[in-house]
């Protein structure tokens, strides 16, 4: 059984939990056990305070006023951009474009880079692990102009099957791949894929939504061309994400959304777009969210991403071991079986209990898990299921959370023992 002592891996989880107001509440008369950080993470007090302070002290529109608080607000936004660039390992803050979320970041690439560079018959290579956010924008492009979509398949353990990678890469213009599956937790070999794609002259987009909250990120190490990220899964607020892109690619791309801020000049006859990244940031940005995201980056850097990754690796190993020992063949955990190949996203199938029913019983124990297809229906088809119950672990979870999950699963087994 657990000891609740996580000090051996460097994170003081009890102290971390205490910084998250929501994790102090009860649900259905039980202390909350939040295991749905794959959907969205909880937010530490420092993030909430940063947003409140912005509104209370320096709320003004950015890049416009010459007065003191407008200047402070502008500085706060640019400081956040710089902090995020550092967090991503980006060579320059100007390569970081704020978007609403990772979905919008991918759509930005599809609309702007895609509609400039992809013609009829060009090939976009995706993987069966992708979230709908990294599928549908490309299918829209395929329907609009006859771009061909190919798929890298997955094997029995929910890992990419790279056996035929060379064949699949033939003629590919863009490889778009997730760095971490939101269903199986699988961690595709991003650098290997990027090298192979670049060897055939393809551009590489990484969906890092499920990666950056959990593992140290370096877009240069990945040798990626575009990286899409979101704030709300990494302790930041909802409504803010970003696209990192190589400067020369961004410089050559036309604007995505048109409007205020994104121009150098507008006349009755037309407009001249602004430089990168402003070119892609039309309209008033979610300033408070950008400021809150900066606080989230500070929070994670304060803990150290190496320490976060080590903690989650140990906790994932504990969860795999505990659940397997306790439930044996009654419980299927989709995805790779070793922590070297996976993150702490555990998609579960327990006996014949439908995920919806499972999550309902778990909720009675205060345990929050996601039930459904996780916006990855093609992958669900490969796994042979319509839905799974997904428990996703994060830095504020500990072994007692896993134990509570196991107890709640056992209770669900009793309730639905037909």
């Amino acid at each position: 059984m657990s000891t609740n002592d996580s000090s051996s891996d460097g994170l003081d989880v009890a102290a971390i939990k205490a910084e998250f107001p929501l994790l102090q509440r009860e649900v259905n008369d039980h202390p909350i056990v939040y295991l749905d950080s794959g959907a969205t993470s909880q937010k530490p007090q420092s993030v909430l305070d940063a947003m409140d302070r912005y509104y209370a002290e320096i709320n003004a529109n950015i890049h416009r006023g010459a007065y003191l608080i407008a200047e402070r607000a502008t500085t706060a936004v640019e400081n956040s951009r710089a902090a995020l660039a550092r967090f991503l390992g980006a060579p320059s803050a100007e390569e970081v474009v704020f978007t609403k979320n990772a979905t919008e970041a991918i759509n930005l690439v599809a609309h702007s880079w895609g509609r400039t560079n992809l013609m009829e018959g060009d090939v976009v290579l995706l993987t069966a692990l992708e979230h709908h956010a990294n599928i549908v924008p490309w299918q829209q492009l395929a329907a609009e102009r006859g771009v061909e979509i190919r798929w890298i398949p997955v094997d029995d353990e929910g890992r990419l099957d790279l056996t035929d990678l060379d064949v699949l890469l033939d003629g590919v213009k863009l490889l778009a791949v997730t760095a971490a599956s939101n269903v199986t937790g699988a961690l595709p070999p991003v650098r290997h894929l990027a090298d192979a794609a670049h060897a055939v002259g393809a551009t590489v987009l990484i969906d890092a939504s499920q990666w950056i909250p959990h593992l140290p990120t370096d877009v240069t190490d990945w040798d990626a061309d575009f990286v899409a990220v979101t704030g709300h899964k990494m302790c930041g607020p909802t409504g803010i994400g970003a696209l990192w892109g190589r400067r020369e690619l961004l410089d050559a791309m036309p604007p995505f959304l048109g409007g205020g801020s994104m121009i150098q000049n507008v006349t009755f006859d037309g407009f001249t777009p602004a430089d990168v990244p402003t070119r892609f940031e039309a309209g008033t940005q979610p300033i408070a969210e950008i400021v809150g995201w900066h606080a989230a980056v500070d929070f994670l850097e304060g803990l150290g991403m190496e320490a976060v990754a080590a903690h989650e690796r140990d906790l994932t190993a504990y969860a795999l071991r505990t659940l397997t020992e306790r439930f044996g063949d009654d419980l299927v955990i989709h995805g790779p079986s070793t922590v070297e190949e996976r993150g702490g996203t555990l998609s579960l199938a327990y006996r014949d209990i439908h995920p919806h029913d499972l999550s309902q019983v778990l909720d009675q124990h205060g345990v929050c898990v996601r039930a459904g297809h996780h916006c990855a229906k093609p992958l669900m088809k490969v796994l042979g299921v319509n839905a799974t119950a997904r428990a996703s672990l994060y830095l504020y979870n500990d072994e007692s959370d896993v134990d509570t999950l196991a107890d709640a699963l056992a209770d669900a087994g009793d309730f639905f023992a037909f």
Binding site: H354, P355, H356, D357, Q364, G372, N386, A387, F415, F418
Partner: protein, 161 residues
């Protein structure tokens, strides 16, 4: 607090364990409608055989959670042998019961004793009354209504032929 027993009444679990009218019918002469719950991936097929304005046979296919499966099973027993107008009447009553207007969006706010149960007309639903507890779990209302919305579609399809 709404407990599990409010949701998983014995008769619901019974229909889940032993679904009635499971299977398929040949199309045509039967009509078939498909319903999806895009949130969870549940899918249901309702096969309807209508002879002289009367539903002579119903079969249910697809897969889903205990609530969607049992609700569809109970629906099949409630409408078989009924005229199309009678079936539409049951459908309307059931969807009225599933309406969350009087309960608020937070299931915990549902009034004790469930005054909605005293509404005139509610008694006409018989066994289907067991599904009333679902409204205390707003997320599951879509599960309970999936089969019924699919029946609605199948009735419309069979009338247009």
């Amino acid at each position: 607090m709404a407990g599990l027993e409010d949701l998983y009444r014995e008769i619901i679990l019974d229909h889940y364990r032993s679904p009635r009218n499971r299977g398929e019918l040949e199309v045509p002469p039967a009509t078939m409608a498909e319903g999806f719950n895009p949130l969870c991936g549940d899918e249901i097929r309702v096969y309807l055989q209508v002879d002289d304005e009367v539903i002579s046979n119903v079969r249910i296919g697809g897969q889903g959670c205990s609530i969607s499966q049992s609700s569809a099973s109970m629906m099949s027993t409630a409408v078989v042998g009924k005229s199309i107008d009678e079936a539409r009447d049951v459908l309307r009553q059931f969807k009225e019961m599933m309406s969350i207007h009087e309960h608020g969006l937070d299931g915990e706010d549902a009034a004790p004793g469930d005054p909605a149960a005293d509404q005139p007309g509610a008694s006409g639903l018989g066994d289907l009354e067991a599904l009333r507890g679902v409204v205390k779990f707003p997320v599951r209302i879509k599960c309970a209504t999936l089969g019924w919305n699919t029946l609605d579609q199948a009735l419309t399809d069979s009338c247009s032929e």
